[in-house]
Amino acid sequence: MSKRIDVTDLNVYYGDFKAVEDVSLTVEPRTVMAFIGPSGCGKSTMLRTLNRMHEVIPNAYVEGSVKLDGDDLYGPGVDPVRVRRQVGMVFQRPNPFPTMSVADNVLAGVKLNNKRISTSKSKELLENSLRAANLWHEVKDRLDRPASGLSGGQQQRLCIARALAVQPEVILMDEPCSALDPISTLAIEDLIGELKESYTVVIVTHNMQQAARVSDMTAFFNLSAQDKPGRLIEIGTTDKVFSNPDRKATEDYISGRFG
């Protein structure tokens, strides 16, 4: 598992509005890439183009290419649904399915797709996914209870387990801790450290300490002015970007002078 992502000359549009301009970057397998930058700089949009979730918005489209181990996600005949089975996603706010139990939530990717799966297989998948999300011990006695009964941090880890159960190559996280308290945040950050053993992880975060703590590589996005597209300003190892950035804008942002 775990694949390499190559983004080349990517432009993202919402109708006539160009949201992201001219981005090229590479995410190596089994690493964590953090996207940082001020609000509205296009980092979430950028993240969503990695599994074509931006297409949920009508009239959104991209130019350029995004390759997963050489396969173009936007090539002819590509089914976005299949893309998303390889590139999972975790959202800002925990969003477990309220009508389903904890177990059904984890297995949602399988069950919602009408796939047949044997009971022993599904038990194994359930346990493995929950263990991988560091949630197994907390919920193993209430697998049949509604997921809405879990705490916010547990719900978010449930959503991670749900994404893992589809057995993706890449995990995208869109500010996964922004709705959580510090202790739950810590649990998720620890989990990210473990996930990169087997997955490629891309995380969007507003919290620079978090980026510094969890990521190997950091990409800084910024926009030159309001209503202008966001651009990739600087990309490098997290150590380099945080301690010795090449660009003035990066330094200003990281030292808290704007944004």
Binding site: V81, Q86, R93, N95, P98, L112, A163
Partner: protein, 352 residues
Amino acid sequence: MATLTRATSASLTSGRLPSWVTGLLLSVAILGSATFFLAVGSPGLLRILFTGALIFASVMMVASLAVEGRRRAKDRLSGIVVTSAFVLALLPLISLVLSVVRYGSQRFDLQFFIYSMRSVVGEGGGAAHAITGTLWVTGLATVISVPIGILAAIYLVEYGTGPLARSITFFVDVMTGIPSIVAGLFAYSVFVLIFGPGTESGLAGAVALSVLMMPVVVRSTEELLRVVPNELREAAYALGVPKWLTVLKVVLPTALAGIVTGVMLAVARVIGETAPLLIAAGFTQSLNNNPLSGPMMTLPVFVYRSYVDQGSPASAYLERAWAGALTLILIVMILNLAGRLVAARFAPKSGR
């Protein structure tokens, strides 16, 4: 407790009538009015209440003007007026329920539910044929309109953009205002065209009711689908679930309780329709279990026909009409209550 002596001081309660004055004045006014009418010898509940309310309002106004001034007095008057309007609106409901129960209970017996009117003249007989007919017609109407209605709502919420969606929304709203008699004429002319003049059938009645039911189903379902959080759709998409399965297995189940409630309220609304059924489904004295041919009696039409086509003794026919009305009201109330229970009981608990 605030007292009138303190009203002269500069405290926050100054210049206000203490709260117990309202209750006191109201009871005194009603009692006074009751004593007066009893003494005159013409006690009537409505008369007593109306006069009592008038006395109360005028005394209250004088008191408020004296103690609280013009602005407060106006405010009090507005309160009295809107409260009386509410009581006034309740009167017909109370009167209607009381009379339906009183007159309807006389023939609300077992015979009423197991006998039809076949070869019954005068007393006896029942509404079994009308009740089964109502089940047939509303059942068929539900089968026709619910799937189309729900799918149309799905179109509006999940797919619809641009002029088509806008015009569907607009005309669905307009359709909720179609007179039911027009729906009946429509169904009648369609079936006459296909099966020849004079055709009346349960199915034609069901088509008429569908025209009335569909917009209601679309409207309520649409509202419910719109409140399903987008986050759930995104969560499903991100798991690699295609849109149609997301709608079928995530969006619909989340809104299911509300949709069921909406359907039950829609059924409750059309089950009492009389005019379109009178025209499209006709009327008969016998049980007819074939919705494809022959007139089919329904409960509302039974009530109407029992009333307009009184034989002798007339009381037998009137009692059957009222018993039918009672049955109808009970069905409608049960559907309403059950609908609300479903909504309250099975609504998914979102978040914490």
